[in-house]
C-alpha cells in the first residue's frame, strides 16, 4: 500500500452489533468481512424477529379463514403488499404480485404476458450484461413462440452501447428486458431513458431490479416501466420471497400461469373463473411469513434511509475502487460512470477461485466466478472475476481487510511486484 488512505474511519449508519449479530462472529479466527451482498444480504434482527413473531403470534392461512388468526394473518399479508407498493411507488397495491424472487417474477411475465402474445419474428431486446435469470426465461419463450432475442452490446467500461440500443429498437421490438444494475459489473443502466424510448415504439418494458432496490430509491412510475422485479433476500429479507410490480392494465389482461388454490374465483369442471390480479398470479398458499418479513426489511432500510445507504455505499465504492487500483496487478472489470457498490476485479496470475479460497482464510467473503452472467464473461474474454459487493453494514475496515488479503494472496502466489 503506497498511497495515503485513511483506513477504518467512518461513521456507521446503524448499530452493527445489535442489528446484524451474524457479522460479529469470527470466521477461521478472523474478523468477518462480508462482501458478498450481491449474492445475498444478511438479515437484520428486526427481520428475523418479524418472521419469528409471525409464527409465534399470528400464523394462520390467509384469505379464506373466518377465525381471528386467519383474518389477522391476512391483514399482515395485505399490509406487506401495501408496504411493497409504497416502497416502489406503485400506483396501486394490486400491482404488486408476491413471488419467490426475481427469477420467478421474470418467468411469470415470460409465460403469462409473453407466451400468449408473441409470435414468430417478434423481438425481445435485452443486453449482454443480463443475469441468466433475465436471459433463460426469454430463451424458453422464444422456443415456444418463435420470437427472437436481440442483444444490446456492452462497452469496455461496462456501460451499455446506447447507440447500438437505438439501432436495435424497431417495430418488431415487443419487449425490452433490462437489468437496472449489473450484478457482475455494478453498472447502473439509464432505465428511465431506455423505457421511454422502448415505449415510444410500443414495446413493453421489464426492469430486473434485483441489484438495485437495496441500494437506491426506486420509483416505478418515474422509470415508467411496465414490470419491475426484485428479490427480498438481496434486500435484507429472507430467501424465497420477492415481488413483481406490473402495470394494472397489463396484469388485468394476463392469464394465470399457475393454477391452484387462492388464484380462482369459482371452480367447476365445466368452467373455472379466476381471481383478479394480484391473486390470479399467486396460486397456492404463499410465503406469508416471508412477505411479512420482507415488509419488515423494507421498514428497516427506510428507517436507515435509502438516501443515506446510497451515499454510504457510494463513499465506500470510491474508497474501495481507489484501494484496489493502488494494488499492482489488480484490474477492475466494470468502470462505468454510474455504478452501484460492486467491485469486480482480476488479479494477475491468480485465478478468481484461488483468490476466493485464500481470501476466505482471511475472513473475507467475496464471490468468485461468472456471477450467473456467462455471456458477459465471454464478452470480456474471461472465465470469471472476483467480486466484492457492498451492503449498508459494510465499513472501510472490510475493504481494508480485502486489500490486505489480496496482498497476502499475491505474496503466497509469488506474484507480488515491488510497488
Amino acid at each position: 500500500m503506497n498511497a495515503p488512505r485513511e483506513p477504518g474511519v467512518q461513521t456507521p449508519i446503524l448499530d452493527l452489533a445489535a442489528d446484524f449479530p451474524i457479522l460479529s462472529q469470527a470466521i477461521h479466527g478472523k474478523r468477518l468481512a462480508y462482501l458478498d451482498n450481491g449474492a445475498t444480504t444478511q438479515k437484520p434482527a428486526a427481520v428475523i424477529d418479524a418472521e419469528a413473531r409471525f409464527y409465534r403470534e399470528s400464523n394462520a392461512n390467509i384469505h379464506r379463514g373466518v377465525h381471528w388468526l386467519s383474518q389477522h394473518a391476512t391483514e399482515l399479508y395485505d399490509g406487506a403488499r401495501a408496504t411493497v407498493q409504497r416502497f416502489l411507488n406503485a400506483a396501486r397495491a394490486d400491482e404488486i404480485v408476491f413471488t419467490r424472487g426475481t427469477t420467478e417474477a421474470i418467468n411469470l411475465v415470460a409465460q403469462s404476458w409473453g407466451r400468449p402474445r408473441l409470435t414468430a419474428g417478434d423481438e425481445i431486446l435485452l443486453s449482454t450484461m443480463e443475469h441468466h435469470s433475465n436471459i433463460v426465461p426469454w430463451q424458453l419463450l422464444c422456443e415456444q413462440t418463435g420470437a427472437v432475442l436481440k442483444v444490446i452490446p456492452v462497452q469496455d467500461n461496462g456501460e451499455l452501447d446506447m447507440e447500438a440500443f437505438e439501432g436495435l429498437l424497431g417495430e418488431r421490438t415487443r419487449l425490452l428486458a433490462i437489468t437496472h444494475v449489473s450484478n457482475a459489473l455494478g453498472t447502473v443502466n439509464p432505465v428511465a431513458e431506455m423505457t421511454k424510448r422502448a415505449r415510444e415504439l410500443g414495446a413493453v418494458v421489464l426492469v430486473d431490479g434485483a441489484q438495485a432496490v437495496a441500494h437506491q430509491a426506486v420509483d416505478v412510475q418515474a422509470i415508467g416501466c411496465d414490470f419491475y422485479a426484485f428479490s427480498g433476500h438481496k434486500l435484507y429479507a429472507p430467501t424465497g420471497i420477492g415481488a413483481l410490480y406490473g402495470r394494472a392494465e397489463l396484469l388485468r389482461h394476463m392469464p394465470p400461469w399457475q393454477g391452484g388454490g387462492d388464484m380462482i374465483r369459482t371452480v367447476a369442471f365445466d368452467n373455472t373463473t379466476f381471481a383478479p390480479p394480484p391473486q390470479r398470479f399467486e396460486a397456492g398458499t404463499p410465503n406469508i411469513a416471508g412477505a411479512i418479513a420482507l415488509a419488515a426489511a423494507i421498514d428497516y432500510v427506510q428507517d436507515v434511509g435509502l438516501a443515506r445507504i446510497h451515499a454510504h455505499e457510494q463513499a465506500l465504492l470510491e474508497y474501495g475502487t481507489r484501494a484496489l487500483q493502488e494494488i499492482p496487478g489488480v484490474r477492475l472489470v466494470g468502470t462505468a460512470q454510474d455504478k452501484a457498490g460492486i467491485l469486480s476485479f482480476l488479479v494477475d496470475g491468480i485465478h478468481p477461485h484461488d483468490l476466493g479460497t485464500i481470501l476466505d482464510a482471511e475472513g473475507v467473503a467475496i464471490r468468485a466466478g461468472h456471477h450467473c452472467a456467462m455471456p458477459l464473461m465471454t464478452r470480456f474474454g474471461i472465465p470469471g472475476t472476483a467480486r466484492a459487493s457492498l451492503g449498508l453494514y459494510n465499513q472501510r475496515a472490510d475493504l481494508d481487510a480485502l486489500v490486505a488479503a489480496i496482498h497476502k494472496a499475491q505474496a503466497l502466489f509469488g506474484t507480488r511486484r515491488a510497488s
Binding site: 477461521h28 477461485h353 472465465p383 503466497l412 502466489f413
Partner: protein
C-alpha cells in the same frame, strides 16, 4: 496460526505453484489415440486431455486449457504420473486419486504410493475446490473409455 491457515498451506504447496506456473506436457498431441474435453462451467475451467496409447501402454500424455491453480497443477501432475503406465494401471490410479480427493487417504488403496500426487489431497478440506482437482482426472477417464461427451465435475 489457525486450522484454516494450516489447511491453506497444505493445499497451496510449492509443487502446486510450480506446476501452475510451468505446467508440464502443456501441448496438443497430434499423434493422440485418445482425447477428451473437460469443463467445469461453475469455475469456467476447461481442458483437453490427450493420450497416445500403444500396446495398452500410455506412451505420451498432455493437456491444454485454462483453469485455477489447483486444476492446472492437477492436470500437469496427472500427465507426468500416467506416462509409461499400462491403461489398467492408469484406470486404477484414477480410482485411487478420486478416492483420495473426495474421501481422503483412508479410502484409497493402502498400498498406493501417490508420490507427488499426494499434494492434491489438501483439497479435501475445501469442499468447493474438490472439483477443480478432479476435473483433469475425470477427463482422463473419459478419454480412456472413449466417452466423447465433455467431462463435468458438477
Amino acid at each position: 496460526m489457525t486450522d484454516m491457515q494450516d489447511s491453506l498451506r497444505e493445499l497451496y504447496q510449492e509443487v502446486i505453484f510450480d506446476h501452475n506456473r510451468n505446467p508440464r506436457n502443456y501441448r496438443p498431441l497430434p499423434a493422440a489415440s485418445h482425447h477428451a474435453d473437460g469443463h467445469n462451467p461453475l469455475c469456467g475451467d476447461q481442458l483437453t486431455v490427450y493420450l497416445q496409447v500403444e500396446d495398452g501402454i500410455v506412451r505420451d500424455a498432455s493437456f491444454v486449457g485454462h483453469g485455477c491453480a489447483i486444476s492446472t497443477a492437477s492436470a500437469s501432475l496427472m500427465t507426468e504420473a500416467v506416462k509409461g503406465k499400462p491403461v489398467e494401471e492408469v484406470e486404477a490410479l484414477f480410482r485411487d486419486v478420486h478416492a483420495l480427493l473426495t474421501e481422503g487417504r483412508e479410502a484409497a488403496d493402502p498400498g498406493r504410493d501417490f508420490g507427488k500426487l499426494e499434494v492434491l489431497a489438501g483439497v479435501k478440506d475445501f469442499p468447493a475446490r474438490v472439483k477443480c482437482a478432479t476435473l483433469a482426472w475425470h477427463t482422463l477417464h473419459n478419454a480412456l473409455v472413449g466417452e466423447h461427451e465433455t467431462a463435468h465435475t458438477e
